[in-house]
């Protein structure tokens, strides 16, 4: 990319090796970038490598049995080359993360206030009292009613939505420049999802923080992201500005995903259009397009090793031999 991006992930590969078992490649050469203040979506179905990508960027994968290659440049520094303690100093301060399950992501035996102040105290010069004050303020900012009282409460005294707000407050506490949100609304009630997503995007936009939003839900992407990267089998298969992706998807997988979204206004009895097969029916990228076994348009031409991302414009590229040319052509 241009080299001025805030986050630049290049050819990231993550392999898990367990004793006595063949290695699994979870991420197979993912590249994407995030500019300062930009909200970028990483979309894909279960098992495509979204979460592993985010954990690799944060340096949160278990070291044993994991091999990571490629580069993750944050503001010019390769995070993969940092020592664990150098990386720890950056986590929470420069880049923060919001996790999927608010029910289990908070420590059940510490007060909410404590869980906020500890991140403030780790990365700023605030003393105990100032950190406490700031924690209450943060809780207020994420919409927790009566934040002063809540700061003294424990996670089990809050609902899932409230807990996710607290986790958002923790992520935002030290005004990081990048937030990675891994399925931040998936575990929440549908009625709460929109609220929490709204809150997250509003706060991120207000503070000018960049965000990587990881989701399997195209609806979430539609309302929030500037740019979208679609992942399949550990690689980005399409990258486009949000509007273009929805109006004119080029990769057949993206197209399939969009067609699979059920429409409320469709007449009763309209059949659903799932993407056939599962992520497990795939080719190795070294052999051909990994999506080919599930694709209606696949032919012998798709069996070429390492198909490159290409497209008429650099902003909108797809890793496809037979890209869709016309908008909304249903596969």
């Amino acid at each position: 990319m241009t080299g001025v991006s805030l986050l630049d992930v290049e050819d990231l590969r993550v392999r898990f090796q367990r004793k006595g078992q063949p290695a699994t490649t979870a991420v197979d050469g993912v590249s994407f970038s995030v500019d300062a203040g930009e909200v970028v979506g990483l979309v894909g179905e279960s098992g495509c490598g979204k979460s592993v990508t985010s954990l690799a960027v944060m340096g949160l994968l278990p070291r044993r049995g994991t091999s990571i290659s490629g580069s993750v440049r944050f503001d010019g520094t390769d995070l993969l080359a940092l020592s664990p303690s150098e990386l720890a100093r950056r986590r929470g301060r420069d880049l923060a993360m919001v996790f999927q399950d608010p029910m289990t992501s908070l420590n059940p035996v510490l007060t909410l206030g404590r869980q906020l102040t500890e991140v403030l105290r780790a990365h700023t010069d605030l003393d105990r009292a100032a950190a406490k004050k700031e924690a209450v303020e943060l809780l207020g900012r994420v919409g927790i009613p009566d934040p002063r009282r809540r700061a003294g409460e424990f996670p089990h005294q809050l609902s899932g939505g409230m807990r996710q707000r607290v986790l958002i407050a923790i992520a935002l506490a030290c005004s990081p420049r990048l937030i990675i949100a891994d399925e931040p609304t998936t575990a929440l009630d549908v009625t709460i999802q929109a609220q929490v997503l709204d809150l997250l995007t509003t706060l991120v936009r207000e503070s000018g923080t960049a965000m990587v939003l990881i989701t399997h839900d195209l609806g979430v992407v539609a309302g929030t992201c500037d740019r979208v990267n679609v992942l399949y089998a550990g690689r980005v298969v399409e990258s486009a500005p949000r509007g273009e992706l929805f109006a004119a998807p080029r990769h057949r997988y993206t197209q399939g995903l969009l067609a699979a979204v059920p429409r409320v206004d469709a007449p009763e009895g309209t059949p659903l259009h799932p993407v056939r097969g599962s992520v497990n029916d795939r080719l190795a990228w070294e052999v051909g397009c990994a999506f080919a076994p599930r694709c209606a348009h696949a032919d012998a031409a798709c069996r070429v090793p390492d198909i490159a991302l290409s497209g008429p414009r650099p902003e909108h590229t797809a890793r496809c031999v037979h890209p869709a040319g016309t908008p909304l052509e249903v596969a």
Binding site: P84, R93, H156
Partner: protein, 334 residues
Amino acid sequence: MLTLVVRRLALLVLVLFGLSLLLFAWVRALPGDPARALLGEKATPAGIAAVNERYGFDQPVWQQYLTYLGQIVRGDFGASINTGEPVVTTFFERFPATIELSLAALVLAIVLGIPLGYLAARRRGGWLDNAVVGGSLLGVVVPVFFLAVLLKYLLAIQLGLFPTSGRQDARIDATHVTNFYVLDGLLTREWDASWDALVHLVLPAIALGSIPLAIIVRITRASVLDVLSDDHVRTAEAKGLSRAVISRRHVLRNALLPVSTTLGLQAGALLSGAVLTETVFSINGIGSYLFDAVTQLDYPVLQGFILFIAVVYALVNLVVDISYGVIDPRVRVS
């Protein structure tokens, strides 16, 4: 919290009532005749009748029980048939020795067990982990009395590193205030007495502490492994906290919950396990006294001592439950 304590104490009274009934029946179901045991081989029928009358053994059992119940409500637990000493007095003379030994064993088990279990979990599959898992198996399997005899033979008799028996060297003319010898030395500033009592405790504490140590190590290890895979630990890592803070605040603290539960159970095991250790090391605790009481069918001593032990056991568990609430806020609310 206060209601919890009050409710538990009320429950304790009920438990003690039931226990006293069971004990009374059980003690009388023991084979043998207390009067015969007291008077020995040459007992005359007249002598036996006299003893039976004196202790009320000639009355119906239910009446004996009611009399006994009436006495203990007034705090009178009777006197030993053997020695004539009041049960309460003997108990408070001897109980400190047992408590001191049990505490030493428990402290040893906690101080070694929690860090070892934690390190084993952190280095899962490493040499330390294998050693700890193997060692703890050995600790549970080896009988306390065997370990006690082995320690005494090797370290005390052969190598002379530790005293072979007793609680304190007789040549030290120590003043005893509470009958906790280590504490007494500190209170009276007789440091040498305190130190000597401590040295006397080492081998018995290792012998008695081996089983709780093994159990604490295993539970800590399993519990830490469990917590390490929890989502909240990953959150703590994502916050950029130092490894030390994560270990202490987010892993160990959460992992101690199941460990604290076992501690209460271990307290009971320690009190009963103390009998064997006290016998091997000739410590005048309740263990050896209770042993004599069983062989002599000393009803008042048996009943009184076991009731006291039950009270202590229940109180220890109450303390454990309260501490559980301190560590885990979820317990506190419900």
